[in-house]
């Protein structure tokens, strides 16, 4: 326990209790630290999603930073509009954060994100990836992993691999890309603090365990997220100006640890109960290949 690190964390809570997020919501935990890191001089762009529900329904909100709702396809454009307006109003110091789910990033939101990133729009685009359209009840998205049951892959499971969004964002030549997990809140906090100080498009991928959608009891959110990192399914890393480096637990694993076999991650979650052995092996191979590529790039 590295508790001395806790005391550097901004003590203020920006999300008021009694909000509409589910028990044990991975997004709630992540958002708590995102806002602590970015602080009050921030405006958040919110697409229709679990986040919009967390923020609340008219006339009340649970969040104490300014926020603007957007249409589903448009969150990056909404954020781009905020950046432009704030610059025109001589307030370029305001942090603009577009926080979309995987649907609003990988699928319907990809065009506006790609355009904004290509223009090096000065914002942080963070994707809280709970690996399906959770707000509408768990339908598959481009981020749903292979082998997962969702309401639109209810019998045969999703048979396509998860889209590699880190590669997609790398193709846009943006200054900062990072992966974070609410199971490692200090690493998450540090990366958002750092991102807040960089200019240009910053993309952060947040692994977001979801109890109802992934099929595990709410008490296990932090454990499941930790397991994603331990298996290498979700490595914690940073890519700054194209240079890749592992951080935190992933760094330790890359240096000297041994990754846990993915079956320990998979067997905890109801959504994988129909996964075939073939799929499991395919995914283990895919995880291994990807991890080794990262290790090579990190020159370790």
């Amino acid at each position: 326990m590295i508790q001395e690190n806790f005391f550097k964390i901004n003590e203020r809570e920006y999300i008021l209790p009694g909000n509409r997020a589910c028990q044990g919501c991975g997004l709630s935990l992540a958002y708590r630290y995102i806002l602590k890191a970015l602080r009050e001089n921030t405006v958040v762009a919110i697409p229709p999603s679990c986040l919009c529900v967390l923020h609340g329904l008219y006339p009340l909100t649970s969040v104490t930073v300014p926020a603007v709702n957007s249409a589903f396809a448009a969150n990056a454009s909404c954020a781009a509009g905020l950046v432009a307006a704030l610059r025109a109003m001589n307030r370029p110091d305001v942090n603009v954060l577009a926080l979309s789910g995987d649907g609003g990033t990988y699928d319907i939101g990809i065009q506006s994100l790609s355009g904004a990133a290509e223009r090096n729009t000065d914002f942080i685009f963070a994707c809280y990836d709970n690996e399906a359209y959770m707000n509408t009840g768990t339908q598959r998205s481009g981020a749903t992993p292979m082998g997962a049951l969702t309401t639109t892959t209810p019998i045969l499971t999703k048979r396509d691999h998860k889209k590699d969004f880190i590669k997609i964002m790398e193709a846009h030549n943006i200054p900062y890309i990072a992966t974070v997990s609410p199971s490692f809140p200090i690493d998450l906090y540090d990366k958002f603090v750092k991102a807040g100080r960089i200019k240009g498009t910053r993309y952060i991928q947040i692994d977001t365990p979801c109890p109802p959608g992934w099929g595990y009891p709410s008490k296990d959110t932090v454990r499941v997220g930790r397991m994603a990192v331990e298996t290498g399914i979700f490595p914690l890393l940073e890519i700054e100006e194209g240079k890749l480096r592992f951080t935190g637990r992933s760094k330790t694993l890359a240096e000297k640890g041994k990754r846990t076999p993915i079956i320990q991650y998979v067997e905890r979650q109801g959504r994988f109960r129909k996964m075939s052995i073939e799929q499991l092996n395919q995914i283990q191979a895919w995880v291994d290949k990807r991890w080794n590529e990262f290790v090579r790039r990190a020159e370790m």
Partner: protein
């Protein structure tokens, strides 16, 4: 002393943008609007227009960027046509519902399928339910003047305004235009007073989900449900009729050009045969009215300038003496009839005016509509009327029918 320049409709629109000083502009090219997006880039890059220009990757993003910027509290502008307008469709509803005074030029063009790059009014007509104010221009002078007026109307009512003008017919045709002085425009347009703000000291979440029913906030105020909020939009649009009229009058006094307000009239004082339309086709019918008068028909033109809000009261008044009405439009609500015609009929229902109304569909996909075409169509219709035919009919001008 204002200067007169011979310019296209698109140039007139772009020059209006400089005069109105929006701070965020976003545009995506589409024929026949493209020149506007090019001119705006030029003006921003050479410093004539001090605005953040977001060179977006689609029309949906163009309007999304403006919605956010307007929410933050700045004046904004975009322009589009046809499929570009349709691509923004969900955001048209959003902009109106969130009460943002965005001004957009719609350079009217036919919509796919089939593809057309040429003029008709289907694009803006099909968006009439969205809650945008729609003003139609007859010529390039009217374009520059209407964009200026649009900002004043939008910012008073808190609703977005679409300034519509015909693609190619106006956008690419050169006409003499007197450019208003920047100082005069600045005086005519008070600074934008946004109704939303981004302030860390007073954080707000803007445009969330609404429950169907009203709900208390934590100060004990019973706040609106979805329906109340939408009713507020409708009430404001009804009030906009007055504002459009006032702004036109004010503009006339300050700049010397009066466009009639909600509707304009040509030789209607003693007319009992009325030709009606919007945009350049309506301007064309003034020539037809003159020719009909030469033939002894007491013809006049009522031009609809404000299509939304629909000027039902003004039209009922203007058409009081009509015994025969001919509407000329470049659009159709498929499965029924021309949008302008059906809105006009609805406006006259119960007014006691029972003149037959002929709905002329002309110029779809840019088919040329000449004065001769319009004259022939009017004359034929009048002949049938004089022979006792009192039916309302839809007539297609210069178009091969299936039976023939």
């Amino acid at each position: 002393m204002s200067k007169v320049r011979i310019i296209t409709g698109n140039e007139a629109a772009a020059l209006a943008v400089i005069l109105c000083e929006p701070q965020v502009v976003a545009a995506y090219p589409i024929t026949p609007q493209t020149r506007i997006s090019e001119l705006l880039s030029e003006y921003v890059e050479n410093g004539t227009l001090k605005a953040e220009y977001v060179r977006v990757e689609s029309e949906h993003s163009a309007l999304s960027v403006l919605i956010a910027a307007s929410t933050a509290g700045v004046r904004t502008f975009t322009a589009t046509s046809a499929n570009g307008l349709l691509y923004m469709h969900e955001q048209l509803h959003w902009a109106a519902g969130s009460r943002l005074p965005i001004v957009m030029c719609c350079v009217n063009r036919g919509v796919a399928a089939p593809w057309s790059i040429f003029n008709d009014q289907q694009d803006s007509m099909s968006q009439r339910d969205t809650g945008w104010i729609q003003l139609y221009c007859r010529n390039n002078q009217e374009i520059i003047d209407t964009v200026v007026q649009a900002y004043r109307i939008a910012e008073e009512i808190y609703a977005p305004v679409m300034v519509c003008y015909d693609g190619f017919t106006l956008s690419h045709t050169m006409m003499p235009v007197e450019i208003p002085e920047a100082g005069d425009v600045k005086r005519f347009l008070p600074p934008y007073r946004p109704h939303t703000f981004l302030d860390p000291e007073r954080p707000r979440t803007i445009n969330p989900v609404f429950f169907p029913n009203r709900r208390y906030n934590d100060e004990g105020v019973l706040c609106d449900g979805y329906m109340e909020m939408r009713r507020k939009l409708q009430n404001s649009l009804e009030r906009a009729k007055e504002v459009i009229t006032e702004v036109n009058r004010d503009f006339g006094e300050q700049f010397g050009r009066d466009y009639g307000g909600l509707i304009w009239s040509y030789r209607t004082e003693d007319a009992d045969v009325i030709l009606a339309g919007m945009g350049s086709i309506a301007a064309e019918t003034t020539l037809v009215a003159d020719l009909l008068r030469n033939g002894g028909v007491k013809a006049g033109v009522v031009g609809i300038r404000s299509f939304r809000p629909f000027p039902r009261e003004a039209l009922a008044l203007a058409l009081k003496q009509a015994r025969f009405i001919m509407v000329f439009e470049k659009c159709l609500s498929y499965g029924y009839e021309g949008g302008l015609t059906s809105d006009l009929k609805a406006a006259l229902y119960g007014s006691g005016i029972d003149a037959p109304i002929i709905d002329f569909i002309a110029g779809l996909g840019g088919r040329d509509v000449t004065t001769d075409d319009l004259l022939e169509a009017s004359t034929d219709a009048l002949e049938r009327y004089n022979a006792g035919d009192r039916a309302n009919r839809t007539v297609w001008i210069n178009c091969q029918g299936e039976e023939e």
